[in-house]
């Protein structure tokens, strides 16, 4: 799938602002962003639910609608609730029959971890179970690409864990998976590649490791013990300096060089080196733009 300069406005709001993105077959990609960053709009463009105001969106080399029509795509949309008055089995079987290469219903339910719920009415299930039914609906057609818009929103920890296991089982079968989330750990743990979106633009794209490195590899901190801070920001590798109470925090690309320089200055009291977390990376990527608001 590919996006080229895709733009989508809703009234005066530019929800997607020139997105360029390519995803190859078999990848598991996380679309990471805060609420309102443009994740859902990007997904609706990808699925052909909305047309871009400018730029192009292609799925499997053609218009999204024709890929959807040929049964290459399955999706779990964000704002959908349980379909009343059908059983899980009836619903999943109905959706599966719409697709040319569907998997057996029992298998879809098994993959989604709801094999024992086939005879239950969809509107009488718990939130976590409903979410898995929606997952089963998305994968029932055995589509090449499955798109999951915030699949674990409103799930408790246990249900979330079970959900990701199901998702990985599906991805292992060679399917392309694109999911959106605002949980950093989820993106890091379950995707091969993370695309960070902010204010309708892609601000980073790579593995969790790459994102962490891009945001400044590690954090070196030590007790100032009354020493002045000037010159610290100019030490080798240092990108930024922050002072919290009596402690200096240096974000650095090269922690070895920074620590060596600090040792020369004899500024090693309570010295600590920690790798930047994905949280740090995410904040570093999206925060600078926040200040311009």
């Amino acid at each position: 799938m590919s996006f080229a300069g895709a733009v989508k406005n809703f009234g005066a709001v530019r929800a997607v602002d020139g997105v360029d993105l390519e995803i190859g077959r078999g990848e598991t990609v996380a679309l990471l962003g805060r609420n309102g960053a443009g994740k859902s709009t990007t997904i609706s463009l990808l699925l052909g639910l909305n047309a871009p105001d400018a730029g192009t969106v292609e799925l499997f080399g053609g218009a999204p609608e024709s890929a959807v029509r040929s049964g290459l795509v399955g999706a779990m949309l964000q704002e959908s609730r349980a379909v009343p008055r059908v059983t899980v089995g009836e619903l999943v079987a109905f959706v599966a029959r719409r697709y040319p290469k569907a998997m057996p219903v029992a298998q879809a339910l098994e993959l989604a971890g709801i094999g024992e719920l086939a005879g239950r009415r969809v509107d009488r299930l718990s939130g976590g179970q409903t979410q898995r039914v929606r997952f089963a609906v998305a994968l029932a057609g055995n589509p090449s690409l499955i798109v999951l818009d915030e699949p674990t929103a409103a799930l408790d920890v246990e249900a979330r864990h079970a959900f990701w296991q199901s998702m990985r089982a599906f991805a292992r079968r060679g399917h392309t998976v694109l999911f959106s989330t605002h949980y950093l750990e989820e993106a890091d743990a379950h995707a091969d590649r993370i695309v960070v979106i902010d204010r309708g633009r892609i601000v980073a794209d790579g593995t969790g490791e790459q994102l962490k490195r891009a945001a400044g590899g590690s954090l070196v901190s030590f007790d100032l013990a009354g020493r002045a801070t000037e010159g610290l920001a100019q030490l080798p590798g240092v990108r930024s300096l922050e002072v919290r109470g009596d402690r200096a925090l240096l974000r650095t690309d090269d922690s070895d060089a920074t620590v060596r320089a600090l040792a020369d200055l004899d500024a090693i009291h309570g010295l600590e080196v920690t790798p930047a977390s994905l949280d740090d990376a995410f904040l570093a990527l999206t925060a600078p733009e926040l200040e311009t608001v």
Binding site: L49, L77, E79, S80, P84, E90, F94, V95, R97, R98
Partner: protein, 238 residues
Amino acid sequence: MLDYLRLEVRRTLRDVGFVIGGIAMPVMMYLLFTNLGGDDSGYKATAMVGMAAYGAVGSALNTGGGVAEDRAIGWLRQLRVTPMSPRQVVLGRALTGSVTVLPAIVAVLAAGGLVNGVRLDAWQWAAIALLLWLGSIPFTLLGLGNGYGLTSQTTGVANMACTMGLAVLGGLWFPISLFPGWLRAISHYTPTNRFAELGTSVADGHAPALGAIAVLTAWLLAFGSYAVLAYRRTGRTV
């Protein structure tokens, strides 16, 4: 699409509100109204057709309620990301409407024949059922228009108002001979009055008047356009 039809009919029949309001209510009202007064067999047949028509109108409009509900819960949007085409979805919904009117029609006619002893020839029973079935199409379109054009809450209210208003005004509940002259004149132009007339004329042993068919066709076009406009406005981007 037959699959979709089967799914939606099943969902409709599992709706307790539909079964009580759309099927049981017309039957009970029919039995109540016809057995409170004297033993007028002519009225029993006319009221039977009127109540069957009322049940059909309610069931047809209920289809719109289903559409509004499916829009609200995101089911129609979910269908858009399956290989089903929008045309299949709309057509499937319209067909659902025309299937779900049948239980009400059959139930009231059965109550007339079995409980109230209405005696008609076999062809008359068949023709009445068939005409009521076909004649319900404009009301299904009205329901679809409401379902696509309005929110799920207002659709319920609008459908209720349309059903009650049109039923009373068209003389489905009480014979329009009880109406004052001006109201009777208006009643002749309502779709419900002409809809019931399809059945009552057969019960009287003759074909429906051209006027009835003309008025009903005009309403068919009006409600059809309304449904298309409502769908164009919201249905394509649910």
